[in-house]
Each structure stands twice: as structure tokens, then as C-alpha cells.
């Protein structure tokens, strides 16, 4: 915006008809599919009269279980989008040799690799772990709900509208072409004058706010709402990793907020934080964003390690080996994770001492991580290992994670990193960990806790098949990238000169096809399981037969209030301990249960936020001002509502529990 340009329309800003890609057949077709899918979903909801239940039981819910499930559904939908981006890149790179330009122009290719990274980190991995944490934590600590049920709902909807904003950019305007961390000067106004980076910045800003709100909620929940008897050293390891993760969220997300806010100011107001003139310094952004960025990767990996620490003892029928060392390993990873960020830019030129320090710290993390791997192995040792689907994922994870960890240690050596920086080795390394640990863990978690959420298990055949294809596909897709990277291939390259490299990209494309089959198997698994749900049903609530922690002590799915009576923990494996003592479920004496009331404020504020951010992206100042004002008013209005909870009457609790007693007796 220079001073001599004509004043912008206050309502439409810089949004004109040119922003709609009506000349791009692929996008028009995609848009048509999205509209048709949306219409058919809306039609189905109307036909089956589901609008009211959807609004009442899901959209406005403050039930942590339902919010957790909504997070996971959001993540799985976005996984399909992010995965489509991955396949498009793989095809492009396999084709673009021997003078061929491939099929994607640079303008598209650059948007696709940026969108792929942003979607996979912010709208797949993050909602997956937040969803699993939301569902599992209160059940594991024996709580009825979370500390801030309304904020939990708001956090989810902010994440969801941020995901919508990213998808809007597909059809209105463009997305960022500056990579998933959006480093200036490329993301500055001079190099990226379009709306792409603005979409990116606001999507991150909103989802970051949502994650921070959710993080504060879960952190307070773990600290304040544990069942009596559950001291910190009696918390399940998944809760420990979650505690550390949410502390990391609260401590690191402010730095994301600052980096993207200052970049927004640079672009919107013309400040000079990260510009290349008038004293600005792009490296300031790079440092700030990685102060958040590295903890962020541990935010994603720690819950994964927590999930395996729950799966292995249950499916090996043995107490977790080395509980205390597991806790200390988790805490060390959390603390050291804050002093390694510079390994993302050893080539900045900080000098040998600084690089040496950060390299050493990075390599150090391998030690607590190694402790964890040994603990799982020793838990399996002499255990009765049941190769159920979650365990298949776990074993696959151990191999891929070992490899990914080792390649990470290689990259942590500054001298070597000068060679590997910006090469495909890096891409192979972080996919090795992101797929081999985070995705595998979340697939294991979904399989492991699905019976808890819905009362029936997932089909084991299709589950295993999915695990095999994901694992095989991963190796076929990413091992070639290690090789091409060592030979000097840079990341984010659209066309190649050296024909001898093509074979590796063709193999990698085949790998992505195998992973695609893995994704399909997972979808088929869900479908088949829903169809065969009566055969797969579990009425005991202890679906794996030897659950160890409190979530397995209640029914599946758990009642709204989770536990009819607040449980008391005497051991890390509280439920296993209760079973050892011959604990029997109380059949009478139920009390009324105090629960939070649903609220529609979360979705209203989030939709206003969506309108506000869209308006800012397109410089629609009037719309932005009005939606911002409404956002503030609705939020303040919510604080005048003092009637936020109610009691589930004792006889209703008695009815629900009586029904469970009947089902248990029926099963024998």
C-alpha cells in the first residue's frame, strides 16, 4: 500500500474477481467437489434431522471426550488434504527430469510445499495430539471434566476456523510460497506482495491462540484435578508427557505469537523488524521463530512417546519398566529442548563456540530418548507380547524412530550440517520422526483408545494392513531422499538437471503410493469396524482385558460424568491395583454430579475471528473493525453468564449405572 494508490473499498478491500481462480480447471473441479460434498452432508443432516443433536451434543459441547474426538476428526480430514499435497509434490519431482518441467508451475509447487508443511504440523499433528490428550487425560487422572471447559471448546473452534482459513486460500487468492516457517525476507512484502503470506500468518496466529488456550487448560487440569491419592509420581506416563507438553506450549507459543505478529506489522504497517533495510534483520525472525519451532517438535513427539508407554505395558501384560527413569527422561527432554533451537541454522555464522554448544545440546537429547527406548524394550522382555494393532505400530515405530533419531544426531554435528543443511537429508530426517514416531503413535493411540471412545474395537485385519503399508511405504518413500540428499539434492526443488537422480524420486513416488494404500486401509478399517460393531463390541470397559490405568475402570463409552464415584489411586497402575485388590464396582449410593453447561460462545467467537482474519488478509478494514468489535462484545458478554454448571440428578446417574450393570450381567 503506497500513499499514492487509490483508497481501498472499505467493504471489499483488495478482494476483486481476479482472486477467484476460475481459469484453473483443477481448482474449479476441487471446489465443485467440496461444494457437492458440503451440500450432501448438509442434506443428510437435514434428512436425518441431525442438526439439533449436532449443535447440542457436539458443536456447543464442553465435554472433553467429545472435544477430543472433534479434534481427531478435524486432523484426519486435514490429513487427507496434506497428503494430497504430498502426492502432488512426489509426482512433480519424479517427472521433472531430462528437460521436462513437470506438471506444476513454480507458483503452484511453492504453495503446495508450504501448505503441506503448515497443514501437517498445525492442522494434523497438533490437533491429533491435542485431541488424544483431551480425551485421555481426564479419564486417566480420574477427573470428571477439565479445568476450563468453555476455553477447551473455544480452543478447538479456533483451531478449526484456522484450518478453514487455510482451505479458503485455495479458492480465494493464494497461499504462502515461503515455506512452513515463513522466513523473511522471502515472506516480506517486497518478495511476497500477495495475500498468500497473510493467509499463512493469520491461520498460524489463530491456531496458535487456540493451542495456547488448550495448553493452559490441560496444564491446569493435570495440576489441579488429579484423583485423590494420585501424586505426581503416580501419574501415568502419558499424563507426565502431556504435563511437559502443555508446559512447553505455554512457554513456547508466545514466541510464535511475537514472530508472526512482528512479521504481520512489517507487512501491514511497514515497520522494519525483519526487512533488509532501515536496520531490520531477517535473522531476528529466524531466531525467534525457532525458539518456538524446536520446542514445537517436542510438543508433537512427547505425547507420542507417552502413548507407547501406555500401549506397551497393557499389550505385554506387564508393569512399565523404569517408571521413574521415564519421568526424568521426559523432563530432561523438555528442558534441553529449549536450548537447541540454533541447530536449525548452524550456517548463519554464529561461530564455532555457539554452534558447538547447540550441537552438543542437540546430541545430548539422544540420551534420555535412548533411556525411553530401552524401557519399552525391557517392558516387552519376558512380557506376554500381544501383536494387536497398537503393538504393531509400536514395533514399527521402534525401528523407524531409531533410524530417525540417529540421523538427527548426525545432523546435530555442525561440521556435517554445513553439508546437509537445506538438503533432502533434512527432509528425510524429519519425516522419519514425524511419520515414524508421531503418526505411528497417533495411529496406535486411535486404535488403542477407540474402544474406550465408542464401545467397540477397530477391525484388527485392516488395522494391521494399514500399519504394514504405512511402514513399508515410509521406507520406500524416504530412504531414497536420504541418498539423494547426501548427493547434494536441495529440498523444495521443482525441476532437476542431473538425470541420474531420477530413479530415487521415482522410488519415492512409489513409496507415497504405498502410504496412500495405508491411508485407504485405515479408512476401510473404520468403515468395516462400524459395520461389524456388534461383533467387535466391548461391554466391560476394559477392552484389552488388562488395562492398567483409570480410563479402563469406567464404561466404554464413558458416561458424561466419566466416573460415578471419584476414584482413589494407590499405585501408578491404579486400575490394575484395584483389580488386584478384588475391587468391585459400587451398585448404589449414587450422588448428583456437578457438571459444566454447554455454551455456544466458543463457536460464535471463532466464526467472528474467521471473518476478522479474512477481512484483514484482504484489507477490508470496515469488516475487520466490525467483526473485531463484535468479538470483544461477545467475549465480555460471556463473562456476565454466572450460570455455567448444573447437576446431573442422582437418579439419572443410578439409571446410567444400572444399565451398565445389566449389560455386564448379560455378558456374564
Amino acid at each position: 500500500m503506497s500513499a499514492d494508490s487509490p483508497p481501498l473499498d472499505p467493504i471489499f478491500g483488495r478482494l476483486t474477481l481476479d482472486a477467484f481462480p476460475i481459469h484453473e480447471p483443477i481448482l474449479v473441479a476441487t471446489f465443485a467437489v467440496v461444494v457437492l460434498a458440503g451440500l450432501s452432508v448438509a442434506g443428510a443432516l437435514t434428512y436425518f434431522r441431525l442438526w439439533v443433536p449436532l449443535w447440542r451434543d457436539w458443536i456447543t459441547t464442553v465435554d472433553h471426550k467429545r472435544i477430543g474426538i472433534m479434534y481427531i476428526v478435524l486432523a484426519l480430514i486435514m490429513l487427507l488434504r496434506g497428503f494430497a499435497d504430498a502426492v502432488m509434490m512426489r509426482l512433480q519431482q519424479a517427472m521433472a527430469f531430462n528437460g521436462s518441467d513437470g506438471y506444476l508451475p513454480a507458483h503452484h509447487f511453492d504453495q503446495i510445499f508450504t501448505a503441506h508443511g503448515v497443514i501437517m504440523i498445525f492442522f494434523v499433528a497438533t490437533p491429533l495430539i491435542v485431541g488424544v490428550m483431551n480425551f485421555v487425560i481426564p479419564l486417566q487422572i480420574g477427573a470428571r471434566d477439565v479445568s476450563f471447559p468453555y476455553l477447551n471448546n473455544l480452543g478447538f473452534w479456533l483451531t478449526a476456523v484456522a484450518a478453514i482459513l487455510v482451505n479458503v486460500s485455495l479458492f480465494v487468492g493464494e497461499f504462502s510460497q515461503a515455506g512452513w516457517v515463513g522466513e523473511p525476507p522471502l515472506s516480506g512484502l517486497d518478495a511476497s506482495p500477495g495475500v498468500g503470506v497473510d493467509y499463512y500468518l493469520w491461520a498460524l496466529q489463530i491456531s496458535g491462540a487456540g493451542t495456547l488456550i488448550g495448553g493452559i487448560n490441560l496444564l491446569a487440569t493435570i495440576i489441579k484435578m488429579r484423583a485423590p491419592g494420585m501424586s505426581f509420581m503416580r501419574m501415568p506416563i502419558f499424563c507426565w508427557t502431556s504435563l511437559c507438553v502443555n508446559a512447553l506450549i505455554v512457554l513456547s507459543f508466545p514466541f510464535l505469537t511475537i514472530s508472526i505478529t512482528l512479521l504481520t506489522l512489517d507487512r501491514l504497517i511497514g515497520t522494519h523488524f525483519f526487512t533488509t533495510d532501515l536496520g531490520g534483520n531477517p535473522m531476528a525472525y529466524v531466531n525467534l521463530v525457532w525458539v518456538w519451532g524446536h520446542p514445537e517438535v517436542y510438543i508433537l513427539i512427547l505425547p507420542a512417546l507417552g502413548v507407547f508407554s501406555e500401549v506397551v505395558p497393557v499389550l505385554c501384560g506387564k508393569r512399565l519398566f523404569g517408571y521413574t527413569s521415564m519421568v526424568y527422561a521426559t523432563v530432561s527432554i523438555t528442558v534441553i529442548g529449549f536450548v537447541v533451537w540454533l541447530h536449525h541454522f548452524f550456517t548463519m555464522g554464529s561461530g564455532a563456540s555457539v554452534n558447538g554448544f547447540f550441537g552438543l545440546m542437540t546430541a545430548l537429547i539422544a540420551i534420555p530418548t535412548g533411556v525411553k527406548v530401552y524401557n519399552w524394550l525391557f517392558t516387552m522382555y519376558r512380557g506376554r507380547v500381544r501383536m494387536e494393532t497398537p503393538m504393531v505400530w509400536t514395533v514399527a515405530f521402534m525401528f523407524t524412530f531409531l533410524l530417525g533419531g540417529l540421523s538427527g544426531v548426525l545432523c546435530s554435528i555442525p561440521a556435517l550440517d554445513f553439508q546437509l543443511h537445506n538438503s533432502l537429508v533434512l527432509v528425510a530426517h524429519f519425516h522419519n520422526v514425524a511419520i515414524g514416531a508421531i503418526v505411528f503413535a497417533m495411529m496406535a493411540a486411535i486404535d488403542f483408545w477407540f474402544p474406550k471412545a465408542f464401545g467397540f474395537r477397530l477391525d484388527p485385519f485392516w488395522g494391521r494392513l494399514s500399519a504394514y503399508f504405512w511402514t513399508g511405504g515410509f521406507f520406500v518413500a524416504f530412504m531414497p531422499l536420504y541418498i539423494a540428499g547426501v548427493m547434494g539434492t536441495t529440498r523444495r526443488t521443482r525441476v532437476f538437471d542431473d538425470p541420474s537422480l531420477q530413479i530415487w524420486f521415482i522410488i519415492a513416488a512409489i513409496g507415497s503410493l504405498l502410504i496412500f494404500i495405508g491411508v485407504l486401509c485405515f479408512l476401510i478399517q473404520i468403515y468395516v469396524s462400524i459395520r461389524n460393531r456388534e461383533a467387535l463390541r466391548d461391554v466391560t470397559g476394559d477392552a484389552w482385558g488388562n488395562g492398567r490405568t483409570l480410563e479402563w475402570s469406567t464404561s466404554s463409552p464413558p458416561p458424561d460424568y466419566n466416573f460415578a464415584f471419584t476414584p482413589v489411586a494407590h499405585d501408578v497402575d491404579a486400575w490394575a491395583n484395584m483389580k488386584d485388590h478384588g475391587y468391585s464396582r459400587p451398585l448404589d449410593g449414587f450422588n448428583a454430579v456437578h457438571m459444566p453447561r454447554n455454551t455456544s460462545v466458543g463457536i460464535i467467537v471463532s466464526v467472528l475471528t474467521l471473518i476478522f482474519s479474512f477481512a484483514i488478509v484482504w484489507y477490508m478494514w470496515l469488516v475487520a473493525a466490525v467483526s473485531f468489535g463484535l468479538m470483544v462484545l461477545v467475549s465480555i458478554g460471556h463473562t456476565f453468564n454466572y450460570n455455567r454448571s448444573f447437576h446431573i440428578p442422582a437418579d439419572q446417574v443410578a439409571r446410567t449405572e444400572g444399565e451398565r450393570t445389566r449389560l455386564l450381567a448379560q455378558q456374564g
Binding site: 487440569t221 489441579k224 512457554l251 514466541f255 515497520t271 532501515l278 464415584f565 450422588n591
Partner: protein, 212 residues
């Protein structure tokens, strides 16, 4: 059945372990203060990041004005005094809240908000002074980082002033019920945090800027 609860275990009268509680405890709002404290910690880090950026870029004048050309210490010192005084009146409001004196508490919080408005008025004057001296937001990295720091602080003060208004209405409606006492406590934490942040701005930005 009488039960005793400790963090090491729950026993009934006979000493056998108890695996569930038979009574209900409402926990409404028990996490509010710790949750708000966590939010404040993340806000501390937000300011820490802004200070770090200022420490990095604050010396980049790009040929434009420098702190010794712009900073008027008497006004800033007066503003610091106003901020400190407002923390004091906020504390008096807390004392009255503790005694259950809603009217007196509201008076002190009103004074706190008025001092906040005085502070904001001075900030606006200061900003106009910068504009007249040709020191705009876009002049240099020094001014970008400096102005962002003080505007972020001012936005927090605006939030605090609006918060007092909302709180006054709510205390007026419901009196000093437990929920409102929690809110008052959160507000006082917030206001004291603003005060501390401003002292940091005064020392690290203004005093050290002029000394340089």
C-alpha cells in the same frame, strides 16, 4: 464411612484402602487462579521476546533519531510514578475486597482505572511528540521495536481499564460473591504484572537508552 485423604492414600476407619470417594466435592473455579497465572507467565514471555528484539534491533537507528534525541525522562518518570501509584491503589482495593467491602473496593479500583487513563493520556502525548520529531513507526528498526514494546504495554493497560468497568458492573450486580472475588484477584495479578513490566521498560529502555 469416614475417610481420610492424603496424597499417599485414602484409608477408611479400619485402615483398609478405599478405591473411590463416596461423597461429592464441587470444584467450581478451583483452577481459575492457577490458570490465569499460567496465562500471565506466557504474557511475561511475550514481553521477554519483545525486549529481546529491542535489545537486538534497538541500536539500529538507520540514520534516524536515537533515544537521546527523543526520550523525555521527566514525563516518563511521572508516568512511572502514576503506574506505581496505581498498583498501590489496586492493592488497597484488594484489602477492601478481603474485608468484603464492595463499595470501598470498587472506589479504589476506580481510582486505579483513572490512573491507568492518565497513564494512557501521557502515552498518547508521548506518541505525538515522537511523530512531531519525525520519529515514526516506519523510520528505523529502533523505532519499530521501541514503539511496539510501549504500544503492547498500552494495549494491556486499555484491557485493564475496560476490565475494571466490567468488574464494577458485575460486583454491582452480584456483590463480592466467590466468583467475583476470584475475578478481582485475577485483575490485581494482571495489574501488578503491568506495573512490573512498565518498570522494566523504564529501566531497560528509557534509563539505559539515555545513558548510552
Amino acid at each position: 464411612m469416614t475417610t481420610t485423604t492424603t496424597m499417599t492414600g485414602v484409608k477408611d476407619g479400619t485402615g483398609a484402602p478405599v478405591f473411590h470417594l463416596t461423597e461429592e466435592h464441587d470444584h467450581d473455579g478451583g483452577s481459575t487462579v492457577i490458570g490465569f497465572w499460567m496465562f500471565l507467565m506466557s504474557d511475561v514471555l511475550l514481553f521477554a521476546g519483545l525486549f529481546a528484539i529491542y535489545a537486538w534491533l534497538g541500536g539500529h537507528y538507520a540514520g534516524g533519531p536515537s533515544p537521546s534525541d527523543l526520550f523525555r525522562l521527566p514525563l516518563v518518570a511521572a508516568n512511572t510514578a502514576i503506574m506505581l501509584l496505581s498498583s498501590f491503589t489496586c492493592g488497597l482495593g484488594m484489602l477492601e475486597t478481603g474485608k468484603g467491602q464492595a463499595g470501598a473496593a470498587l472506589k479504589w479500583f476506580g481510582v486505579t482505572a483513572l490512573l491507568g487513563i492518565c497513564f494512557l493520556y501521557n502515552q498518547v502525548t508521548e506518541y505525538e511528540h515522537l511523530q512531531q520529531a519525525g520519529a515514526t513507526y516506519q523510520t528505523s528498526a529502533f523505532l519499530s521495536s521501541f514503539i511496539t514494546l510501549i504500544i503492547t504495554h498500552s494495549i494491556h493497560v486499555i484491557v485493564g481499564v475496560v476490565w475494571v468497568g466490567v468488574l464494577a458492573l458485575q460486583v454491582f450486580q452480584h456483590g463480592l460473591i466467590e466468583a467475583n472475588r476470584r475475578r478481582v484477584l485475577c485483575f490485581s495479578m494482571f495489574w501488578n504484572f503491568l506495573d512490573i513490566t512498565w518498570v522494566c521498560v523504564f529501566v531497560f529502555v528509557y534509563l539505559m537508552g539515555v545513558l548510552k
